[in-house]
């Protein structure tokens, strides 16, 4: 479980001029074991924000502290999953899931000796996401939803205290999506890691999160923080309760606001 503190974060690609600025002054506190989501108009710098959290990018200004220490580069304590559940087609699903343990400096040296134990861990995870006994299948033998489940397993195999999810369910059909929300929620409840998730789906954000942040159009800032305090575990039917609907509606309004703000700006740029 990580505690994330972000202070005065600013980042520009190629420079800090207004048109190069991607993130402009983000201050954020995400508590230990919190499930936080970030929503916002497309191109607002959400994915850049995730790269900063994973240590793949360093900000020009401000800093990110995880458990009190500023991050200065990649660390193995994060797990990542993306919309595109890329798997290595020459490895079985189980071998794909074990890949982080194989390359992470923390576990690399003991990987050979503890392979049996790691395999058991991977199989437990597969069972947890509903892929029991499918570890020997190759990724191309799995459906899109199954691959996304496997990619969640890969993100969690090294038991990272922080999970970064970049539109993890964006490419799935509605039913698979709902199933995976439940899977993710129960895994999170059991293991209590901190989650930061970027999504376009407001229902998804409201259903899974403790807090939802609305980001402004580029350059990105956190505009609104919305706490969502339904008890856990949440049932899928909660989505039809008036309180829940109000949350989603509020988020929708905030996003519409950011888009209205952004429109004259992008229009001006298109003309010039």
């Amino acid at each position: 479980m990580s505690v994330i503190d972000i202070e005065g974060l600013r980042l520009g690609y190629g420079g800090m001029a207004p048109e190069q600025l991607v993130l402009d002054g983000i201050d954020l506190h995400i508590g230990s074991g919190e499930f936080a989501s970030i929503v916002g108009p497309s191109g607002c710098g959400k994915s850049t924000f995730m790269k900063l959290l994973s240590g793949l990018l360093t900000p020009q200004e401000g800093r990110i502290l995880i458990d009190g220490t500023p991050i200065s580069g990649p660390r193995s304590e994060v797990g990542m999953a993306f919309q595109n559940a890329i798997m290595l087609p020459w490895r079985t699903t189980l071998e794909n899931i074990l890949l982080p343990l194989e390359v992470s400096p923390a576990t690399k040296s003991e990987f050979r000796h503890r392979k049996a134990q790691y395999r058991r861990q991977a199989e437990e995870l597969l069972t947890a996401v509903g892929l029991e006994g499918l570890g020997d299948k190759y990724p191309w033998q799995l459906s899109g939803g199954m691959r996304q489940r496997a990619s969640l397993c890969r993100a969690m195999i090294h038991e990272p205290p922080l999970l970064l999810l970049d539109e993890p369910f964006g490419a799935l059909d509605a039913f698979t999506k709902e199933e995976l929300w439940a899977v993710l929620q129960s895994l999170w409840q059991r293991r209590k890691f901190t989650v930061v998730m970027v999504t376009h789906d407001l229902t998804e954000a409201a259903f899974l999160s403790d807090t939802v942040y609305v980001m402004s159009a580029r350059p990105g800032r956190m505009l609104v923080r919305q706490d969502i305090s339904f008890p856990r575990p949440r049932d899928l039917d909660i989505r039809f309760e008036p309180d829940f609907v109000r949350h989603v509606h509020d988020l929708r309004e905030h996003i519409r606001g950011t888009r209205a703000q952004a429109d004259p700006h992008t229009a001006a740029r298109a003309v010039s």
Partner: protein, 275 residues
């Protein structure tokens, strides 16, 4: 006394039917087309009564091949070994340079124009220089085969490495994986379909290289033999040499198709699965 089941008439007809069935299958198409090609060639030669020194019919070429089988054999082996030696060097150095170029953007940008320049030079123009340095013999043929088949391997390996999925790279880098690990676990295996695919192109090019060199400056090999045969007006032998080259080329190509399927079968299967 045991009864020999293989000789009963029923077994014989069913076996015959089995064979006839094979000739009707899709795989047999190439067989029929090759047969047809030689039949048309043979018929055309007789129909237009082409002189043997202009275009000999396949039957005459076959006779020449039998008559000169020793020379054909020796020179085929000579060409095959120089080709394979040059190709072998091309694989080793092509893979190494491909990995270096594909792994480093700086090296890629820096080396690319020079490599394109080298590749644009017609290799036949290099043979006189190679003869100047190494004398007439196998060495210029090996080097020409190497030079001509080297480039496609480099380009394909580099391209294969460059097409690694960026998200996959992000996942590994965020874990703190070393550059070597990323190359060994993801980059190189992912580039293997490109690499093995390029070998099919490279092996046929290697034949071009060695034969070109043999034709310009050598005292053995199919290229040299054909040049000699042409000078002696043994036109059927020239064609027999061509045929031997074609057979060697097809066999090597087929060999690398098999190797490719063996080594990177997952790429074919995952492609089929996505369709």
């Amino acid at each position: 006394m045991t009864t020999n089941t293989a000789s009963t008439p029923e077994v014989r007809t069913s076996r015959l039917r089995h064979w006839l069935g094979w000739f009707r299958r899709e795989e047999a198409m190439s067989f029929w087309i090759i047969i047809g090609f030689f039949v048309v060639w043979e018929v055309a030669c007789h129909l237009f009564s082409l002189p043997v020194y202009f275009l000999p019919p396949p039957s005459v070429i076959a006779q020449a091949a039998v008559e000169f089988q020793r020379a054909l054999m020796i020179n085929s082996i000579q060409t095959l070994w120089t080709t394979m030696a040059g190709f072998g060097f091309a694989v080793v150095f092509g893979l190494a340079l491909g990995v270096a170029v594909g792994g480093s953007r700086r090296l890629y940008k820096g080396l690319y124009p020079l490599m394109v320049g080298f590749n644009s030079v017609p290799k036949v123009a290099l043979v006189p220089i190679l003869v100047l340095w190494f004398g007439i013999g196998s060495v210029p043929a090996i080097i020409t085969a190497f030079l001509i088949s080297f480039f496609p391997i480099v380009v394909n390996v580099a391209t294969g490495l460059a097409t690694t999925e960026p998200e996959m790279d992000d996942i590994l880098r965020a874990l703190g994986a070393s550059k070597l690990d990323r190359l060994l676990k993801v980059g190189l295996p992912g580039a293997m379909p490109h690499f093995f695919g390029s070998l099919k192109v490279a092996i046929t090019l290697a034949f071009v290289g060695s034969v070109v060199s043999e034709t310009v400056a050598a005292n053995s090999g199919l290229g040299h033999m054909m040049l000699m045969a042409q000078a002696n007006f043994e036109v059927p032998l020239v064609f027999a040499g061509l045929l031997a080259l074609a057979i060697e080329g097809v066999l090597m190509y087929a060999l690398f198709v098999v190797i490719e399927k063996r080594m990177t079968g997952w790429a074919f299967r995952s492609q089929q699965a996505q369709q």
